[in-house]
Symmetry: C2
Subunit: 357 residues, 2 copies
Amino acid sequence: MSTPAGPPVTVIVGAGLVGASIGHALSGVGWRVHLVDAVPSHAAVAAGLGAGTAEPADPAEVGLVVVAVPPRAIADVVGESLQTYPGATVTDVGSVKAGVLDALWDRPVDLTRYVGSHPMAGSHHSGPVTADGELFVDRTWVVTPHRKSSDAATARVVELVRACRARLVTLDVDDHDAAVARVSHLPHLVSVLMAGHLTNVPDEDLVLAGQGLRDVTRIAGGDPGLWQQIVRANSTAVLRELRQVAVSLDRLITAVETPADTALGLELERGVEGTHRIPGKHGAAPVPYEQVVVAIPDEPGALARLFGDVEAAGVNVEDVAIEHDASRQVGYLTLSVRPERAEGLAVAMRDGGWTVV
Amino acid sequence: MSTPAGPPVTVIVGAGLVGASIGHALSGVGWRVHLVDAVPSHAAVAAGLGAGTAEPADPAEVGLVVVAVPPRAIADVVGESLQTYPGATVTDVGSVKAGVLDALWDRPVDLTRYVGSHPMAGSHHSGPVTADGELFVDRTWVVTPHRKSSDAATARVVELVRACRARLVTLDVDDHDAAVARVSHLPHLVSVLMAGHLTNVPDEDLVLAGQGLRDVTRIAGGDPGLWQQIVRANSTAVLRELRQVAVSLDRLITAVETPADTALGLELERGVEGTHRIPGKHGAAPVPYEQVVVAIPDEPGALARLFGDVEAAGVNVEDVAIEHDASRQVGYLTLSVRPERAEGLAVAMRDGGWTVV
């Protein structure tokens, strides 16, 4: 394969959020980027915004192809790209990896030049977020070499990840798919299960709904078309997790059925333990922040005044959440701060005339 | 029973968050409130803060007893109160109602004077929130008369709800328990199920966790001791919902197993539909807000400056959420605003030097 000095001439297929953002990131560090999209005007718009050029590349010159198309089209586009660009490494940015490889394994394509990847960014901002070259900075980007991948191809995809300033994680294809099944696809389906259950709940019951129900069901509102493709693409790993959850659910039901307290208590404690295993902000171990809860009137400018007073108190707010209740005109703002700052913040807010609850 | 003019002399048993908050609310509108707690110093502290008096009441004078003790103690305390205060209406504030009534049904107590109730407030602020007479204002407070309840007793509990300025909802005991099983207890157990599953997930997989997993599992971190009592107290209704979820889970597993797309698509769409059934902020129908997402540096004062600029833009922020990623030093602040204000806010924020993504 051709290995010219300097960054490879790069073709990005698919000028959506992820593809165009990669184009911005690479163009920003001097890579030559050609954008291609099934809808040519999409490539032209992205190019106009600085993500690269919509002019066609000379196939012989292309050193890297990034396939950023919807999940169900990935394998075909990867296969075509391996044929169209005979000297290029080809990667994709899909959230599931094994299916692409399986689909290509017996085709007459040069799989030594294909290495899958998965930038963990953008998905929950897919609505409002437009392309942004900073999208991948310090985020995890998983690279998944397989046993036919050449070292040169893997190195080229690593070069892509580094150019986007993402944090490189290298995983075996199946390990990757098992991991996202557990931390992403299963939680989505569990949320769907709970939200779907609500379709059978009477309106008058839902009036009693609180923040907990809203949190558990939030991601179930995600695009069903996209999620169908994701779950289909990872169905083996997802089914393994779902079946384990079915066993756990049966055990939970038995625990609730059994009047002796211990089994149910163990289930509830296992849940608490599970929440503690999720890494905290910025990948660090969870910090036990303290919460200062301030009542906040539902009127323009209230949040600005409140944060102005927080700034005046000189306290770094680690996290913030607003809780509204279905029946209450006054919301609550929960400010998470380091434990040693909580008392001072509460005093400062009270001094500022806020109701600290 | 005695029905003196004016508000009844009231005894509150249990000076925790809910009991003491009721004490503050009633004392604030001139009711005579006596606080009792198994730990006398708790009653004294609450009294010292203005929730009433810790002096004992004359049993013959008491017109209302509010039982605000942990779930598993409620039935006994209600029974004892009916005997100790022969002229009083007795209510409780537990989150499950049928079990209390069942436990008392065949005891030699005057159940005409017992009417259960459930103020829907406080639970997810139980940590940082201390007693607050405003806790119930405009919140739902369910009153659950049963077939032995006298009209006078029900009227007295309604008087309590009105004095706390809560929003009265009257429900049959079993309807209440079925409703909270669906919108509160089941979501808690589903969250526990997902969080408990994480105890078997390797650390290296959890590095890939995002906001969705955090949302689904948040409430699973709730106090296992309290939740055990709640689930036990409502086990019949909870089991009915759990068994339905088990059936839905089997159906979902079959849908994922079946290569034809339609079944899985229907499951995912049912989930979306369910999220739309949850009433929005302040009980109104969900308003389709638009989100403006702003990148926010992780440094002191950034939020204050940001909200200062939002205020300068004159836009009312309907909701706000911060999303941190495990691997990224820059968070995102999602500002939800009325659709017609989104564009103007985005422009104003860009003008203020913020990165709107």
